[in-house]
């Protein structure tokens, strides 16, 4: 009986304490005078110009919250140190962290989160799949390489045509003596010879003409080989396929993830073997080099990098693997959490928030609906 009584008293005291704390928290007057907010570069959510000005969607959100709460704050930079940023929140060395921190089980165990403010879709970046089909093939005929090959051939035919006419024009047998018609005959003969068609309608009869014919016959063999190889390669380059068309191809591909991100956690849960890279750009570079075939990461960030850095050979597949929600991380039992939450929801429900999202994230993210692996 006695232990039960004690338990009830303890519970009652705890409850009273909780109520007291909650009401205390709700009172904005008790917020600290100045708080420290940790953040790190994650374009387009957090950007920093060379003169040290922070911007980006997450920073925009924070500035609006701080204005709403009349919070005085300073940013502390944790660039390239996600682990350090999360450690600092866990140990209450900073009052809040805002970057692109997904609300996950592992993170929630270490510290608290505010409400979510952005649904981040996980996607797959691959080496761009060039267009295939008749139109693309026709298009590649007009590539620079192909045009140079065709142009070179035309010039060569003309030169040989002029030469054979110079040698044969006095005979008046097959090549017209008048320059215009005669050179026309010459070009015709050069083309008939080069393509090994050999109609025999025009035939050189002088010694010089026959020597030129002999040289041209054999030179043509090399030239035709060179010409067709150049054309063939310009067709084929446009048709190489990456072989990754969706999530189901990941299991048999070389997959990259960035250590400690939502993508790494998702790939791990799918039991897909993946290579870990310390940072996003280094993973993207591995994709460019062909060291890996796919990179699983937040689509918004992938899209932003590809656009910003003009990596036109990379592209993000339309599929969404999963959705992770970004929140502001605060230390466990933070007195800020309730105020931040109220203010955050107020900000994201404002009519102009959608425009802010579009301004920073733009078209690099479609509607986040998971269609799974």
């Amino acid at each position: 009986m006695k232990p039960a009584m004690r338990a009830i008293i303890v519970a009652a005291v705890a409850l009273w304490f909780c109520v007291e704390l909650t009401t205390g928290r709700a009172d904005a007057g008790e917020l600290p005078a100045k708080i420290v907010v940790g953040t790190m570069r994650v374009p387009p959510f957090v950007l920093r110009s060379d003169d040290g000005n922070w911007s980006g969607l997450s920073i925009e959100l924070w500035n609006q919250i701080a204005a709403d709460l009349n919070l005085k704050f300073e940013f502390r930079e944790y660039d390239y140190d996600l682990a350090g940023l999360l450690d600092a929140v866990e140990r209450s060395q900073i009052d809040a962290a805002i970057a692109a921190i997904p609300i996950t089980y592992e993170n929630e165990e270490r510290f608290d989160f505010t409400a979510a403010y952005f649904p981040a879709s996980l996607g797959i970046a691959v080496h761009a799949e060039p267009q295939s089909g008749v139109l693309a093939t026709l298009g590649s005929v007009f590539s620079r390489q192909a045009l140079v090959a065709i142009g070179g051939l035309a010039v060569l035919l003309f030169v040989i045509g002029v030469l054979i006419w110079l040698l044969e024009r006095r005979q008046k047998a097959h090549f017209d003596a008048r320059p215009l018609a005669g050179i026309g005959d010459g070009v015709w003969w050069a083309a008939v010879t080069m393509s090994t068609t050999g109609y025999g309608d025009k035939v050189p009869v002088t010694v010089g003409g026959r020597i030129l014919g002999l040289v041209w016959m054999f030179a043509s063999i090399f030239l035709v080989a060179l010409f067709s190889a150049t054309l063939a390669s310009s067709f084929v380059v446009g048709r190489l396929k990456t072989g990754i068309n969706g999530p189901s191809d990941l299991a048999r591909s070389r997959v990259a993830v960035v250590t400690g991100t939502a993508g790494a956690e998702w790939v791990g849960a799918q039991k897909i073997a993946a290579r870990n890279y310390p940072f996003a750009i280094q993973a993207m570079k591995a994709l460019q080099r062909g060291e890996v075939q796919a990179l699983v990461y937040e689509k918004a960030i992938l899209g932003h990098m590809i656009k910003e850095y003009h990596w036109n050979e990379l592209q993000v597949l339309p599929h969404t693997l999963a959705v992770r929600y970004y929140g502001i991380a605060v230390p466990t039992e933070s007195v800020l959490k309730e105020s931040l939450n109220r203010s955050l929801l107020k900000v994201v429900q404002r009519p102009d928030w959608k425009e802010r999202v579009y301004q920073y994230v733009g078209g690099s993210e479609e509607s986040p609906i998971a269609d799974g692996p």
Binding site: D81, L163, K285, Q288, E308
Partner: protein
């Protein structure tokens, strides 16, 4: 009409030469066009940086920041140890070697006999920290006592006025610059005892000492943060009479800390192109800040 015959003969020759010239010119144009394409491709500037595990995390962060400003460059940073890095450089596999120690006689001789001019750039300063578990009460150790521990002659914490328990020393595997320097300055060239467990990275040493009460190990300053408050760096005495000194930016710069060293980039000749740009970036204020954040001490750029 002999002159006409000669003229005709010249005509044939001329025709032949013209044909040959045209063919050569066309083939040349093709080859030129092909090679100019290849040159455009190689301009993306890939730089291989290999070596010291101590430097690996900071240089990786520098590479990421460098590429945000030079998105067409590709800086690939790999660890493996200072020895691997210098070997890769000498064999032309790496563009920059990260070395947390000075070059050895053998490396210098190999470079000389292969006419490779090595350039060394200090990018940061470091002190090798001796760490124990947070539950270990030992306050400081002299270099002599450290030598006894890692040579296997001092085996119980009880002999050092600490809680009884068999000492478990952890060291880095061969090829590590940290291990080489510890071997030279502490062991005086003597071998590690068989009881010393050799681990591939500084992080592995930190996590082992963090989890084992009787562990002791050494690490660079940068890896210390992985231990949180579960490992404790201890003060060192150069000899039994000198005062104990803790590794800190001040004691490293002043030279009072007995196990300080410089972290360097080694290149074959003076670096060019992207390698030069990256080296400059590491020595810039932004790059140095990344080293300092990791726990290292900024270095004044100095080429040797």
């Amino acid at each position: 009409m002999p002159s006409a015959g000669i003229a005709k003969g010249y005509g044939f020759a001329l025709a032949g030469w013209c044909t040959a010239a045209v063919i050569l010119a066309t083939a040349g144009a093709y080859l030129y066009f092909d090679s100019s394409r290849a040159n455009v491709d190689s301009q993306v500037g890939s730089v291989q940086v290999v070596g010291s595990e101590s430097m690996h995390p900071s240089v990786t962060a520098c590479a990421e920041d460098f590429m945000t400003k030079n998105p067409q460059a590709d800086v690939i940073v790999k660890g493996g140890g200072s020895g691997d890095g210098v070997a890769a450089l000498l064999h032309g596999i790496a563009d920059i070697a990260m070395a947390s120690r000075e070059l050895t006689q053998r490396e210098r001789e190999y470079a000389r006999s292969n006419s490779i001019e090595l350039a060394v750039f200090a990018v940061a300063q470091d002190g090798i920290s001796i760490i124990v578990n947070h539950a270990n009460p030992v306050a400081d150790l002299s270099l002599g006592q450290l030598r006894e521990i890692f040579a296997g002659r001092l085996r119980n914490w009880g002999d050092l006025d600490a809680t009884q328990g068999e000492i478990r020393p952890f060291a880095r595997a061969a090829g590590s610059g940290t291990a080489l320097m510890f071997g030279e300055r502490v062991l005086g060239g003597a071998a590690y005892a068989a009881s010393v467990q050799r681990l591939p990275t500084n992080e592995a040493i930190v996590s082992n000492v963090a989890s084992q009460r009787d562990g002791i190990g050494y690490t660079d300053l940068g890896a210390l943060k992985h231990g949180g408050d579960r490992v404790r760096p201890i003060a060192l005495r150069a000899d039994d009479q000198s005062p104990p000194v803790v590794a800190s930016p001040e004691t490293i710069v002043s030279g009072h800390y007995p196990l300080s060293r410089r972290l360097t980039f080694v290149t074959a000749g003076n670096p060019l192109g992207t390698a030069k740009a990256f080296t400059d970036f590491c020595l810039s204020a932004t790059g140095q800040a990344l080293f300092q954040r990791a726990g290292f001490v900024s270095a004044k750029p100095a080429a040797l």
